[in-house]
Symmetry: C2
Subunit: 252 residues, 2 copies
Amino acid sequence: MENGRDGMTTARTDETAGLGLRPLYVQVREKLLRRLVDGVWAPGDILPSEMQLAAELGVSQGTVRKALDAMAAENLVVRKQGRGTFVARHDDERIMFQFFRLKPDAGERKFPDSTILSTGTFPASAEERRVLGLDPGARVIRIERLRSIGGLPAIVETVILPAGIFGALQGMELPNNLYGLFAVNFGVVIMRSTERLKAVAASAQEAKLLSLAPGAPVLQISRIAYSLENQPVEWRISTCTSEGFHYSVDLR
Amino acid sequence: MENGRDGMTTARTDETAGLGLRPLYVQVREKLLRRLVDGVWAPGDILPSEMQLAAELGVSQGTVRKALDAMAAENLVVRKQGRGTFVARHDDERIMFQFFRLKPDAGERKFPDSTILSTGTFPASAEERRVLGLDPGARVIRIERLRSIGGLPAIVETVILPAGIFGALQGMELPNNLYGLFAVNFGVVIMRSTERLKAVAASAQEAKLLSLAPGAPVLQISRIAYSLENQPVEWRISTCTSEGFHYSVDLR
DNA sequence: AAGTGGTCTAGACCACCTC
DNA sequence: AGGTGGTCTAGACCACTTC
């Protein structure tokens, strides 16, 4: 493919046209990301080999490698020596380590069960529209659930989703791991999230659900989850007991 | 330098001896890390160029580059195009973004002031010995301080340090940014930390210092900070108001 | 002009996996 | 045996900084 990049023997024909001054491997990363977003490759699929991608895109293997290494560092793909490069799966194990930061004070980390308390579709509040970037008049799905860890109630959670994206979710059987459902049924892949934590007093209802005294201090986690396109697609408010559990972060 | 690695023209003489089967760039990274630990290069110093390091260590420039890229990703060094590679500084700005996660609910992020409440040296408790990996009979320095953000009291903090390392700190003027002091005066560079968060009820003393009602819910952050050698060297318990502030994390 | 890190290519060998 | 990603080298050009 003639694209003006031919390595060390020839002068570079500077026809990268317009704003094409970003590094080649960044452009390759964006092309591959675009295919992920468009669902050309689904989670768990194997990607073409580095050599094949290099030939197809008209760049060297090393450039494809640098793009894939960057995507692996972002948890978008998984590289397996001798096998190939795969689109990252949103299996429970991965979600557990990447997004679920609540751990027992002692003992093994466990994944929580979920009991749905209520679901429904409502006009989005002003704050919901602001957080999720929705237009006036937009609607949202609200899911309330109680999550238990090791049989003990630990988290009361409200999940808020744009009805415009997830409307078909109403009436579905809701799995414990929502992000897996988002990926498989809606093509929405959660790439990253931001969380804001506060200590608050438990409301009467929260205290009852969590077997705490009313007004007991609880961790309130407000999470905004972003898709591959970097759009906010979920707002989740989790109220967590601090009795026997803590929120764990590594800073480096 | 004859080390059995000579690239593409000759078969590899597998004399890497014993357990030397780790990648070359990992070994280079460890050699460079050793020099950082030993204080051969101080924070802010410029490192030799990639070419010089490559010649000195008997590897190619590309291998040195991969080691330095890894160290840059770990925040150990900073690379500046056209200038050189520098040992990371522990200036306030960097600490603020890397370790200080408390942000105002609205407005700009600010760095807190500190007022020392008390300091002293004590026999380490059993828990302090466990957390910091100290021998029986070891002593610790305890520093209590009140930190204010924008003039408002926000954090009551206890810092626990092994007296065996930081004994000379007693009597020093304590700066706001302790990690800078650790690096400059004790050669202890904080590389990473782990934090555990809980919601608890403020004690009478904490409530008074933070201008809260007794029993008000507050964020309790337990941080263990690790040196370059990956040894725990500080245990810090911060009690933070949730009135107007939140703890912020990015998960990716 | 000289030196540094950043990008890109090309080709070799190695370790691992599948068939 | 053949294919894949992982490591290592070598050399070119580019962008940026400093003199």
